[in-house]
């Protein structure tokens, strides 16, 4: 069935339903959208990706004819990169059912030389039986499929070649368990099984034979006549989770939780190449290779903890908890590579040459978090919360794992402790709300170079909406972090500020405006690989955002219009202007029309600039 036929049929059915004087609340909005695109199609699709075509903009139906309550909502199916469908049904004492379906077209032209054009489809269904009984069993199923074509770079034989790639990953999960409730004790137990099957097919892109590097290697021109690769991955993951809550005394509540999963992956790959190549690893030129690889990896993770909430007096609670997480990851790969017709760089000893790499890797990671705090919710117009936390991380890494670029012994044992003080307070009275928050983290030895010694985050929020026709808001957030170690010298700050106003001078008209500022500034020492000189990595963001909008609600017309502008003068300068307008006009009875106009103009002064305009006309049927 084409989208046009579907559209016509939906209209017919909706009209029939509407004519029946039904009491079923029902909305349908469907129509056509046109796209006029100037500039970079790749960048437009990476950022927005709305295209021309029929579109079911919105659908909702709520009825009591199935169970006690049956509700379905759907949005943005058709000429849209994303769509969603949700179904909820329940009957008191018997069942509760939810089903969610989502689709997302994902397109990217980054990093350079790569692109993908894939679609993700996700389905989640959950059914709870006898939801109000002491023991209520439930089952669930999830499906996630990510598939589609792409292009990628493959580094081989001292050059890089562009490959066509076709990827398909399908993950399915089934789960079951029960919630329980006995007097003052309640909780939930879940057992699930997840499986992922992934395949990838790769082949040399037409015209990519010469590779990226034009220069010869040791006087030898590198080129490929054929590259094909096929890989397959299977992951099986059983998991268990459990929590129990007990109101053991009048004022004491204890909560315990445990979750564990053990993911095991198995992979195999075959590869065949032909051409003229070089390898520094075996110090030879060669005319092709075949490679077979098998791998296994396992990740076992568990987390367990307990916490207490002690109600000291009405509205004041003492909170304390302890959590431990353990993760271990082991992997091994056997990679057998047969280099065909190889000769030494000196031009002697012609023969096929085999290498076998038997690599193993492992990580052990333990994290302990202990916390204590107080929450005061009812101090008149004031509420207050303060908490201290300490997290301790122990990591053991086997050397192979970190040999990403240069082989060598780069594993080891690392331990890091972070102490946190986290507090906030709010005042709310007569339509005025003021909130302040401060979080301070202090860490000792870093595991990664970008780990901080000190980090502070401040937040101030204020709002005023005393008269019904005006609301004013302001928010300021600032985070600073640093590591003073002379070999790292890391300093950074991130700040976000915004102010907004909403005015409703008369009930039919609402006006809004906001301004936001985004700042990021970070410096850290790095080593330039080509000279080994010490350099400073500098990243800045200096973004300003302005928004203005209006909503007009007349009897014969509803109008919504927004204009936004964002400009960044930091490390990645650009300007992005957006315009959105939507008008809805009732035609007759339950029928109406919606008109949309959208424009996005992206300018970074490069070939990636685009100017995209969309118009949409939609028929609305409302019951």
């Amino acid at each position: 069935m084409t989208i046009k036929r579907l559209f016509a049929l939906l209209l017919f059915t909706a009209a029939a339903t509407a004519q029946a004087q039904t009491a079923v609340p029902f909305d349908l909005e469907a129509g056509y959208r046109w796209l006029d695109l100037k500039g970079s199609s790749g960048m437009y699709r990476t950022q927005i990706n709305e295209h021309s075509g029929f579109l079911i903009r919105n659908f909702s139906l709520t009825t009591t004819s199935v169970g006690d309550r049956f509700r379905v909502t759907a949005s943005d199916f058709g000429a849209s990169p994303t769509g969603a469908l949700r179904v909820e049904a329940d009957r008191r004492g018997l069942y509760r059912f939810t089903l969610g379906y989502r689709s997302a077209d994902q397109y990217s032209i980054f990093p350079s030389q790569h692109f993908y054009n894939r679609t993700r489809r996700m389905l989640d269904a959950d059914l709870e039986i006898f939801p109000e009984e002491r023991i209520a069993p439930f089952i669930g199923y999830s499906f996630n499929r990510f598939a589609g074509p792409g292009e990628t770079t493959y580094h081989f034989g001292q050059d890089e070649f562009l490959l066509r790639q076709n990827q398909k990953d399908v993950e399915q999960e089934i789960r079951g368990g029960a919630t329980f409730k006995f007097n003052r004790v309640y909780g939930s137990f879940t057992q699930g099984w997840r499986r992922l099957n992934g395949t990838g097919d790769f082949s040399l892109l037409a015209g990519a034979n010469a590779g990226n590097n034009d220069d010869p290697i040791l006087g030898h021109q590198i080129s490929a006549t054929d590259i094909t690769r096929h890989d397959k991955t299977r992951v099986r993951t059983p998991f268990t989770s459990f929590y129990i809550t007990g109101d053991v005394f009048q004022r004491v509540r204890l909560i315990g939780n445990y979750v564990r999963f053990a993911a095991e992956s198995k992979g195999n790959e075959s590869e065949a190449t032909a051409g003229s190549f070089a390898s520094f690893a075996i110090s030879r030129f060669f005319n092709g290779a075949t490679e077979l690889e098998t791998s296994k990896a396992k990740n076992t993770t568990w987390r367990g903890g307990a916490r207490a909430e002690v109600n000291l007096t009405d509205g004041i609670d003492f909170l304390a908890g302890y959590q431990r997480e353990h993760r271990d990851l082991d992997g091994e790969a056997l990679i057998n590579t047969l280099y065909l017709q190889s000769i030494t760089f000196g031009g002697v000893d012609q023969r096929d040459f085999t290498t076998v790499l038997n690599a193993t890797s492992s990580i052990d990671r333990d994290e302990d978090v202990v916390s204590a705090g107080i929450s005061a919710r009812k101090l008149g117009p004031i509420s207050f919360r303060a908490e201290i936390r300490q997290s301790k991380l122990d990591v053991n890494v086997a050397p192979d794992l970190e040999e990403i670029v240069v082989p060598g012994s780069q594993g080891g044992s690392f331990e890091r402790r972070v102490n946190t003080f986290d507090t906030n307070a709010q005042y709310s009275n007569n339509g005025v709300t003021v909130g302040v928050a401060w979080r301070s983290d202090h860490g000792d030895a870093p595991i990664f170079r970008t780990d901080f010694d000190d980090r502070d985050r401040y937040r101030l929020r204020a709002q005023w909406n005393a008269p019904k026709w005006v609301r004013l808001g302001a928010l300021a957030e600032r985070t600073t972090m640093s590591n003073d170690d002379s070999s790292i010298d890391f300093k950074g700050h991130i700040a976000q500020y915004s102010g907004d106003i909403e005015v409703t001078p008369w009930p039919l008209l609402s006006l809004r405006a906001s301004a936001s500022r985004f700042e990021a500034d970070s410096t850290i020492l790095i080593r330039r690989p080509e000279t080994f000189a010490t350099n400073t990595s500098v990243h800045t963001e200096n973004g300003n955002s302005r928004e203005a909008g209006a909503t007009l609600n007349l009897k014969r017309l509803t109008l919504d219009a927004d204009v936004t502008s964002f400009s960044n003068a930091g490390s990645q300068p650009f300007k992005l202007d957006r315009y959105r307008t939507r008008a809805t006009i009732p035609i007759k009875g339950r029928y109406g029309l919606a008109l949309e106009y959208s424009k996005d103009k992206y300018d970074e002064n490069s070939a990636f600039d685009f100017d995209a305009t969309r118009w949409g006309v939609f028929v609305r049927i409302t019951q």
Partner: protein
């Protein structure tokens, strides 16, 4: 095909809705006599269990033979508003009925049933713990909400009331998750009733960060796992909200992001600080590490993460 499939489901659902169309309007309950605006949508409200069903069989207690049983028993309204007898007898005197509002209203009504605490959620110690500033009725509209979970507004607009900079970054920056579209909302990743710390992230059923709920292929395990993911998490390199940087990285320059960890200064006391080979960063082909190190999240096939 997917549009056809979805369309088919929608048609089926429309068809399911049709049979009720011929039913006679239900007799209104006594609360509904005056509170029509609240009464009408309540039939499809999650709190409206048993409301709006076909009339029950006549019982001797129902009074006059054949009289229909009210569709909304007063007890449904009274479960939150308290005994309404005096209010009814007082001709609708507003002072004679409890109207839940603010902190006290949430405590006395909502939390009577919804005072749940579990591994993720806490009503008393959560970041949105029930208080004067933020309470159940700040975000939820009990009678007339059209949004899921009885939210007072669509989720994005609701969260924007307080978290304006976060929402502005989604709306205005070029690289962002499409919030408010395709089923993606703030609560896809955040647990609004969650406890403070780690930004109230809504972890998966097996306890991982919410990113892998969708990006399943990044979950692994891999033989050669990138350390930043095995020991840190996705947010070591990515911004989850709107970003000015491609691929929502925390740096605009990929080589810069990589070298900040992979730089051998100070004796390599940190993980991954080995010499980053001899690549000449002045050449364009080396300025983007992931052009060649394509399997940057982890690989089963290559310790150098090139495939």
């Amino acid at each position: 095909m997917r549009v056809t499939f979805i369309g088919g489901i929608l048609l089926l659902l429309i068809a399911l809705g049709v049979p009720v169309s011929g039913e006679e309007p239900a007799p209104v309950p006594s609360c509904g006599d005056c509170h029509d605006e609240q009464f009408k949508p309540f039939a499809t409200n999650p709190h409206g269990h048993g409301v709006g069903q076909a009339p029950s069989p006549v019982t001797p207690d129902a009074g006059q033979a054949g009289a229909p049983v009210p569709h909304i028993p007063n007890a449904v309204c009274e479960s939150c508003h308290g005994d309404g007898k005096a209010h009814i007898e007082g001709g609708g005197d507003k002072s004679l009925i409890f109207k839940p509002a603010g902190l006290a209203g949430s405590d006395k009504t909502c939390l009577t049933c919804h005072d749940i605490a579990n591994d993720r959620v806490s009503r008393h110690g959560g970041a949105h713990a029930n208080s004067t500033t933020v309470n159940c009725l700040t975000c939820h509209s009990i009678h007339t909400s059209k949004a899921t979970h009885l939210l007072a507004k669509p989720q994005l607009a609701l969260c924007a009331t307080c978290h304006s900079t976060q929402v502005a970054s989604f709306r205005n920056k070029p690289y962002a998750h499409r919030l408010g579209s395709g089923g993606m909302e703030c609560s896809s990743c955040h647990e609004p009733h969650g406890r403070p710390g780690r930004d109230m992230l809504r972890k998966t059923v097996s306890g991982e960060l919410p990113c892998v709920n969708c990006h399943t292929q990044k979950r692994g395990p891999f033989v050669f796992q990138h350390g930043s993911f095995a020991i840190g998490d996705c947010l070591t390199c990515h911004e989850a909200h709107g970003s000015s940087n491609r691929n929502r990285l925390i740096r605009s320059n990929v080589a810069q992001l990589c070298l900040e960890c992979h730089s051998p200064i100070g004796g390599g006391r940190t993980l991954g600080s080995q010499p980053p080979s001899f690549h000449n960063l002045s050449l364009a082909r080396y300025q983007n590490c992931t052009t060649c190190h394509v399997a940057v999240h982890g690989s089963d096939r290559d310790p150098q993460l090139m495939k």
